[in-house]
């Protein structure tokens, strides 16, 4: 094997519970090389990085197949600690810093240089005094390497967000043996100027001979700094390219590209059009942590299936949550010409909207309650259905017979596999739980159905069934469906139009049959080649 690689991965395969997420990955990084790893959400980037860094999640789920070499030597990385000893550093997407400590305390955390004192002579080295001078000196050196001038004795909590990332990097390069640093979407939370600064710092590190593995989905950054680009898709390594010989368009296409089997969707009597708008969002902002929506405008045609795509963290998930009143929202939501009262889930339900949340177990289900209760409870609460009168006026009890009959019917219609209406939903498989969520929303007989990540965490067969159900709801009951999904492929399969969200706004709307290049570009914030109405 080539001896000059810092890190070499050979034939790495990893599966979670029978679900293969990485298939035969080969990858090598040379000293001083910036190696970008790009791919959509779920392509396997994070798993690959966890594997390199020896994160416990890998071993708790049965380890992996394949070999890792460092400097030509086969190594076993079973814990982050071992990874660090081997000279692998990691800069996380979310900051792992202690806000109440100073910059240098964070940089030197748990590796502080110490001085002996009288107490430590008796009680041992754990009682030694911190050598602040040495700490300050080391921190300064590390920060200078990054070309950053900040006061190393400042508290991290007072630093601007952009600087925190640099403190993390400084911590990694301060480790004397740092050879390879993994950057996991480091620019996700940075403003543009900060991102530029970071990329400059990365280049500077590479010049000093440190190898860099750079995970991102921002193609312009990839083009700006990397030497080599590896593209992952669905757990497979699609291609490794040399930056100088490629183009953004090629990367975009490879990232998204796959055959879209757009099934034969049943036709409608009236095709949706811009003349009949059922829902309009104007300047919508939603304060959903990690999925902020920032002044988004969108028009939804009556009777269509509108897809909302985009990468994680760009705000696509926030839209439905904001409109349905689950996260604080501002702006205007107009349904059939009437303004909706925001931040009021009841008002949203009264406006004949229903929502299947992306957080199935957190929002969508009462795990310890029965299938029947899960299906009808929203209808009971929001629409007073399934209640029967009692001899006392005004007191109404749950009509258990009606609930049972209805549940039996919908279990049959949606083919929910369970032992019966009384089985707790916790015992169901992911796909069947998702069907219960759909049944819950369906029971509200909505005109507009919001569906978020309907196929997340369910197996392939069930995915198809869920998508078929959505098409059935749309064609047979005329529901307007707005479906949010990270999987472009599935959006392209059933949607009439697909809106791509970038940085909290609609970057553009594409037809499902638009080219892979257009999708790839728009999803990573590049301007589209052309837009379609």
């Amino acid at each position: 094997m080539p001896g000059n690689s810092v890190l070499e991965l050979k034939n790495i395969t990893k599966s979670y519970f029978g679900n293969t997420v990485l298939k035969g990955i080969n990858l090598s990084v040379k000293p001083g090389e910036i190696h970008a790893v790009v791919g959509e959400n779920g392509a396997g980037k994070s798993t690959l990085m966890n594997l390199i860094f020896g994160m416990p999640v890998i071993h708790e789920t049965g380890g992996f197949e394949g070999e890792i070499f460092m400097d030509g030597q086969a190594v076993k990385i079973d814990s982050p600690r071992q990874a660090m000893e081997l000279g692998i550093g990691m800069v996380h997407q979310e900051f792992m810093l202690i806000p109440g400590f100073t910059v240098m305390e964070n940089i030197k955390l748990n590796r502080e240089p110490t001085k002996p004192n009288p107490v430590s002579k008796i009680l041992g080295p754990s009682m030694e005094t911190l050598d602040y001078q040495a700490m300050s000196h080391d921190s300064k050196t590390a920060l200078e390497k990054l070309g950053l001038e900040i006061d190393e004795s400042a508290y991290v909590s007072r630093l601007p967000v952009g600087y925190m990332q640099f403190v993390e990097i400084a911590r990694e390069i301060d480790k004397k043996n740092a050879r390879l640093i993994v950057f996991d979407e480091p620019t996700a939370v940075l403003a543009e100027s900060e991102a530029e600064h970071l990329i400059a710092a990365m280049k500077r590190l590479a010049e000093q001979g440190i190898a860099i593995l750079f995970i991102t989905h921002r193609l312009d950054e990839v083009m700006a700094c990397s030497d080599t680009i590896t593209i992952l898709r669905d757990g497979e390594l699609v291609k490794t390219l040399v930056r100088k010989e490629t183009s953004v368009e090629q990367i975009a296409e490879l990232m998204v590209g796959r055959k879209v089997e757009r099934g034969h969707l049943p036709p409608r009597s009236v095709e949706p059009s811009d003349d009949d708008i059922i829902l309009e969002l104007k300047d919508l902002t939603v304060e959903m942590p990690g999925e902020r929506v920032r002044g988004l405008d969108l028009k939804v045609r009556r009777g269509e299936i509108l897809g909302i795509g985009g990468l994680a963290g760009q705000g696509k998930v926030g839209i439905a949550n904001g409109v349905m009143g689950l996260y604080p929202a501002t702006g205007e939501v107009i349904i059939d010409g009437k303004a909706l009262k925001l931040n009021d889930p009841k008002a949203a339900l009264d406006a004949r909207m229903a929502f299947v949340s992306e957080d199935r177990r957190g929002v969508g289900l009462l795990l310890d309650e029965s299938v029947a209760v899960n299906i009808v409870l929203s209808s009971v609460e929001a629409q007073n259905k399934f209640l029967r009168r009692t001899i006392i006026p005004g007191v109404r009890l749950l009509d258990q017979k009606a609930v049972r009959e209805y549940a039996m019917k919908i279990i049959k219609d949606l083919d929910i596999r369970c032992t019966g209406p009384n089985q707790p939903v916790r015992r169901l498989s992911g796909g069947n739980q998702q069907k219960v969520c759909l049944a819950r929303a369906f029971s509200l007989q909505p005109e507009i159905l919001w569906v978020s990540e309907p196929t997340r965490g369910i197996d392939i067969g069930a995915k198809q069934l869920v998508l078929d159900l959505l098409v059935q709801f749309n064609r047979e009951y005329g529901m307007t469906i707005i479906m949010t999904s990270s999987e472009l492929n599935e959006l392209r399969r059933i949607c009439d139009r697909i809106a791509l969200v970038y940085r909290g706004k609609v970057a553009g709307i594409l037809k499902p049959d638009a080219s892979d290049v257009d999708f790839g570009l728009m999803i990573s914030g590049k301007q589209p080649v052309k837009e379609v109405g």
Binding site: P345, V363, D368, S378, Q400
Partner: protein, 358 residues
């Protein structure tokens, strides 16, 4: 014979046993076995089991409503209502008002409850408003609210403008006494209603019926729209919110309901005991009720009427029969009070360590 054997085999099969064990739960199994052991011990010591059983039934009915008061707050996820004394003193105030007018019999009893009701609802609202501000720490704050209210009520009892000589201090003429007998009013009126003897065991029919009636009401309540909304709120607040339920309102209602049950429970407790105990007596009222609910299998995530009934039966029976037995076993020493403390607090501790947290 063979058929019988196979049946026994099936009943003792690992699957069947595990299923039973999972449903019943380890804590309840241990306590039931301990209880059984105590009964056997009592039998060996030639103690009068009928008296023990009668006393147990008495105490079950007497405490039942106080334990039931734990249910609404548990169901909505507010947690155990450690502020039970808040409702309890409302009941006591109702009781004292009824005494002031010398009302006797069922008139006296129901007047006491009617007077306590608006008070309990009002204080319940204020208490709920406080708990809403300290979300996540309801149980700890509730404990101290309970303590504070009892202390505050001590001042009230001393200065309250009651005039009936049978209950104000003999000297001075203002302020009510520490303990007021209900002997001439409604002492044991529920206990004795339709009471009868079965194999020497006295069955306090009225008392048990009253408790049963409230359990039935609670059971029905959780099938109304509001009741179901409360269950959803406790099981998954986000689900509740996304179903258009006003989560905050449900938490308020649950605290007010719990408070009201505690007030009625206080009156039932007093009539069974035969005395109204004022001043610091309600201070520790919450703990046995909490322990009973937990032992019954209620958790901070899920609680049902069934848990409450099992809990109150197990806990109160154990408490009632453990005392005379320890007394007999350790003859000559006055160990009973100490033993009572150890057993009841030990059980709370045990039950709390058994609590599955979310």
């Amino acid at each position: 014979m063979e058929l019988n054997m196979s049946k026994i085999k099936r009943l003792c099969s690992p699957d069947h046993l595990r299923n039973f064990y999972e449903k019943f739960g380890l804590p309840r199994l241990i306590i039931s076995l301990f209880l059984l052991g105590l009964f056997i011990l009592a039998f060996i010591m030639k103690m009068d089991l009928t008296i023990l059983l009668s006393a147990s039934l008495d105490r079950i009915g007497m405490n039942g409503l106080l334990v039931l008061a734990m249910l609404p707050t548990l169901v909505t996820g507010v947690g155990l209502n450690f502020g039970l004394p808040v409702g309890f003193v409302c009941g006591l105030v109702g009781g004292v008002i009824s005494l002031e007018y010398n009302l006797t019999g069922f008139t006296g009893l129901f007047t006491a409850m009617l007077c306590a009701l608006p008070l309990a609802i009002l204080t319940g609202y204020l208490y709920a408003a406080l708990l809403e501000r300290v979300r996540g720490q309801e149980m700890m704050v509730g404990t101290y609210v309970g303590f504070a209210v009892v202390a505050g009520m001590c001042i009230f009892w001393l200065t309250a403008p009651f005039r009936n000589p049978s209950m104000v201090w003999a000297i001075g003429g203002t302020g009510v006494r520490v303990t007021i007998t209900l002997y001439e009013h409604y002492s044991r009126i529920l206990n004795d209603f339709l009471a009868f003897k079965l194999f020497g065991v006295t069955i306090p029919t009225g008392l048990l019926l009253f408790f049963g009636f409230f359990c039935w009401l609670a059971h029905l309540f959780f099938r109304t729209r509001t009741g179901m909304a409360m269950v959803a709120t406790g099981a998954n607040p986000m689900y509740a919110m996304s179903s258009g339920i006003n989560v905050r309102r449900m938490r308020y209602i649950s605290v007010m309901l719990s408070n009201t049950l505690a007030a009625i429970g206080a009156i039932v407790y007093a009539q069974s005991y035969g005395f109204l105990q004022l001043y610091t007596a309600p201070l520790y009222m919450a703990f046995p009720a909490v322990a009973a609910a937990l032992i019954g299998g209620a958790t901070l995530k899920k609680a049902t009427v069934g848990h409450i009934i099992i809990g109150v039966v197990l806990f109160q029976t154990l408490l009632t029969i453990a005392l005379p037995i320890t007394q007999t076993v350790l003859q000559g020493t006055d160990i009973s009070e100490i033993a009572r403390m150890i057993i009841s607090n030990g059980m709370i501790l045990y039950a709390l360590t058994r609590t599955e947290r979310g």
